[in-house]
Symmetry: C2
Subunit: 245 residues, 2 copies
């Protein structure tokens, strides 16, 4: 039995997200499993490094699957390129150690949240950035972001209700880069809770708009209450950027 | 009677091009005229700086129209933003001299042709760049481009059949910029014939692939025969970048 590791890139606009939903064909996982199952003649299950929500994109998602197929990785890559829809591309395919697990072994992740900050939306970015027409105070956003770095209980920044699982994560850095009218926020951490990047982004946007003061971040974090944080920024601006092992 | 000048941005993917075709709703001109006609209660005709083909995009297209409307330009801008589809945006609206004509007064134009040069296509650029999987020799392309600069009869680079009209144009510059896997070719000239930018691009791509030698450009130009030049590069990589008056 071989264990194959893939690097995937996808435009999530048309999909209900990563995770397969029954026999639905509108998920990334579902699309890939279908192609790999036909390719190998086996019933392939693909393990992703994590789920991405409906509309969320990936620059370099990681996934793995087990197969008895004798096909070489290069041929698998070509097969996937030929049969996957054009908004999903397998960039790399390699045989890895039998024990490798895309989700359990992930040590850190990077997400990119892209904002288009101009009066009118940009027709070319309407699916790949969140449009904020108002002026954003970037200094305040950077100040606020500093409070979110470190090891914290991020209960205020998730919509996951489960009380059993730890909400403690470590965020290594949050970088805010401006290129003309594009604001890129890059989140880097050892793991992110459900909706955490989108709620952190929504909160930073509200700071940028002057609705939340940067200093309020401390209380938002320590309050451990979702209602204290800002809104959930829309999915179209979010990209899973990289997964580290 | 007021003469209004507009700056337009559009994603041409869904459209049959700029020029209105009968009562078709699948053209940029048609969409804009419909919105402006409802806005003013008049039968508005929009004059564009030039046509863009099916699938071609615009960063800053220029157009003008005449109206008796007393609406201020800012209100017109807001109205267009609200009622145009999200892949067409009016970026600017100003009253100009009665004599201004978007097409007749255009002095120069800039086009951008974007190539995604990597083994696999990029899901985020599939509508906004032409995918060339093979390695391109940029030095040869730049060498070939130099022959296309200047005042020439560009008969070899157009599919326009009319023999009456002059095919002489002046190309000021052709710049080839590389950013990672993106190759941008920027064409700047006093006017471009039908399909001229796409045929020049297709020819430069064939030079980059080693199918045409850079030195052959001189004979392709002087031969005044479309069959001598390279293929017509696809419309999805082409952007009308700017119009000068």
């Amino acid at each position: 039995m071989k264990n194959m590791k893939m690097i995937l890139q996808y435009d999530g606009s048309r999909y209900q997200g990563w995770q397969r939903l029954g026999d639905s064909d509108r998920t990334i996982q579902g699309k890939i499993e279908k192609v790999l199952s036909v390719m190998t003649g086996e019933d392939i299950e693909v393990i992703g490094s994590g789920r991405t929500d409906a509309g969320v994109h990936a620059i370099r998602q990681v996934a793995n699957f087990h197969t008895e197929s004798s096909m070489v990785p290069e041929a698998m890559l070509d097969y996937c390129y030929r049969y996957l829809p054009e908004d999903i591309v397998v960039l790399d395919m390699q045989e890895v150690d039998k024990m490798f697990h895309s989700r359990y072994n992930a040590k850190a992740k990077k997400y990119l949240y892209r904002i288009w900050n101009d009066r009118f939306h940009n027709p070319f970015y309407r699916k790949y950035a969140c449009h904020i027409p108002n002026c954003l105070d970037i200094d305040s956003m950077r100040q606020a972001a500093r409070f979110l770095i470190g090891e914290h209980d991020y209960t205020s920044f998730t919509t996951l209700k489960s009380k059993k699982k730890s909400k403690v994560r470590r965020v290594y850095s949050i970088d805010i880069e401006i290129k003309d009218k594009i604001i890129d926020i890059i989140f880097y951490g050892n793991g992110f809770l459900y909706n955490m990047v989108r709620i952190m982004t929504g909160t930073l946007i509200e700071v940028g708009l002057g609705k939340i003061s940067p200093d309020a971040m401390e209380n938002i974090l320590s309050g451990k209450d979702r209602s204290l944080a800002g809104y959930t920024a829309p999915s179209n601006g979010l990209f899973l950027y990289e997964v580290e092992y």
